[in-house]
Subunit: 335 residues, 2 copies
Amino acid sequence: MDQVAEAAGVSRATVSRVINGVPSVDSKIREIVQRAIAETGYVPNVAARSLVTRRSNSVALVISEPDRPHDSSFLNRVFTDPYFGRITAGATGALRPHDIHLVIIPTDSTDHHRVIRYLRQGHVDGVLLISSHERDPLPRLVHDLGIPAVVSARPASPLAASFVDVDQRFGAQLAAEHLLARGCRRLATISGPLDIPAGQDRLDAFRSYLADRGHPDVPAVEGDFTRAGGEECARRLLAAHPDVDGLFVASDLMSEGALRAVQDLGRGVPRDVAVVGFDDSSAALDCRPLLTTVRQPVEEMAAEMAEMLMAHITSPGRLPRSVTFQPTLVVRESA
Amino acid sequence: MDQVAEAAGVSRATVSRVINGVPSVDSKIREIVQRAIAETGYVPNVAARSLVTRRSNSVALVISEPDRPHDSSFLNRVFTDPYFGRITAGATGALRPHDIHLVIIPTDSTDHHRVIRYLRQGHVDGVLLISSHERDPLPRLVHDLGIPAVVSARPASPLAASFVDVDQRFGAQLAAEHLLARGCRRLATISGPLDIPAGQDRLDAFRSYLADRGHPDVPAVEGDFTRAGGEECARRLLAAHPDVDGLFVASDLMSEGALRAVQDLGRGVPRDVAVVGFDDSSAALDCRPLLTTVRQPVEEMAAEMAEMLMAHITSPGRLPRSVTFQPTLVVRESA
DNA sequence: AGCACCGGGGAGAGCGCTTCCAGACCCGCG
DNA sequence: CGCGGGTCTGGAAGCGCTCTCCCCGGTGCT
């Protein structure tokens, strides 16, 4: 920095002002300094900067997955489910104009303390927390840290935290309505994990919507949001209820597996069994036939989370708030 | 820190020594200080620390994907291909004992300058670079930065950089040998992108191994390492060469798609067409029948990359070196 | 008993930046 | 022509830590 200052014939203070875009710098001087910066190839040291500004200009995207001992590493799950890619895309897109970096931190319960320590050390200015599991202690831990945070769904235990969510119940109703409208009469569902509010809500809303319309006791199997899980659930479901003609699967990834099972069992889709998924991720397009599904605007939701987080960071006293997105039905071939 | 020092009745220097595990501290004092740290809940400020140590205790995992305009966002690809999950798992595992954080940075060519700036700013002590595309300028850019780096495969243009790779040619030979051994006579392959050395090498080695054994002109279709791509390639391949009875697919993800296509076309696997994949990622287990495949020890490779990087970081003068892993054949059901 | 040596703790400088404060300069007005 | 006020720049402090250097006290030797 001294070099730049000398090259430009100004003080370090002025160089600093130019870099930080302080408007009160004379435009001629500004230009000279900028040229000097370009010539010397000077790049500010972030450590020194954040030591004084107390800002790191980066936020963490903490992806907290419960450990499900029976399946492979949670990292594999994270890097296999398009959902997280969408989250990342949405968040980075929103953060880019603010010139804020996104530090992606996948975690399971074995290293919560690691994450907490990371956050406490001041590596980041705030955190976007993707946590679905009902009993995940992380939202509370992060909240207690007092660091700005936005959660990806309504926290299971009441927490004075900002969050964004999709109207899960409405989405499930959309699916039920569509299946009914196309003439299905023997409906069933493969739900998400029931210890995840989203899993619970989609199941619940699907069932009660149908119950209100003369379809009580809709059979359900609890899935795990994986492709293999969806396949197995569909097998079990069709074994127990061979006459099912309409199936709501609580995620696209599970739908892929379910579709395979249904067709393996000799049923035509959508002729014999109509299938509606949930998400509208890229997995929907990997399905054959192409998956009719309930679209969650995940990218937009992540972008909103990022914006909310920025607001919390820049105005510390800000009250927590939540925003809810409405899902829509995307009709393709499977129903 | 002053608080801790006062609480423990020592100087800040001693507190610092305790935190950094300097051995010359008296064990009684060490204990007192540790208690004081626990009581005050003191956490060192990383910015201040790295300002003086010139170390950030984190390394970047830069995942550079070429932008292929025809498919969806590269983030979707990264978060959909189990390969990257394995890389991340391997790297974090190896870094954990060093207490080094991994900052995951997916990038396509549109924001190379962003990544470079990030690296120059001193956010990280080194970089693990996952770059396969032949003409990707990033390896050279990173190299020119002079920051410690390890690349995931032999750089296309000669570069004095450390890298780890798998013996691609040997892997392809393993596949060819197996197909031949099980009696296949009309072989074909779905290769990876040919602008990726790995894609090129696997194709080349497969063909020349077979040519040496009386199978010249093995048909090939160029794939793109995606599930959908594999499906389409298999369709094209079987249309042009309906009598193929042995297929080597250059990645597990493509194998999933290829398997679907082959079976859709009424061929039994492995009875009519035997299929061997490459990777042995979780996708191999998503296949029906279960995929016989060439195993790349990706986690171990990533761990090795991390170790090499640590070595470069701690001893700056170190000469670049490379290590090559041998793949193995994992026989399951598809061949 | 005195001296050299060594182990262990304290004082203080300084890492590279931002920002407060003061002062220089210029303009316009009385 | 002098002075007030405003604009812009420079000086310098200080962010929280590490680490060198120095000093103190204890030990073992002569």
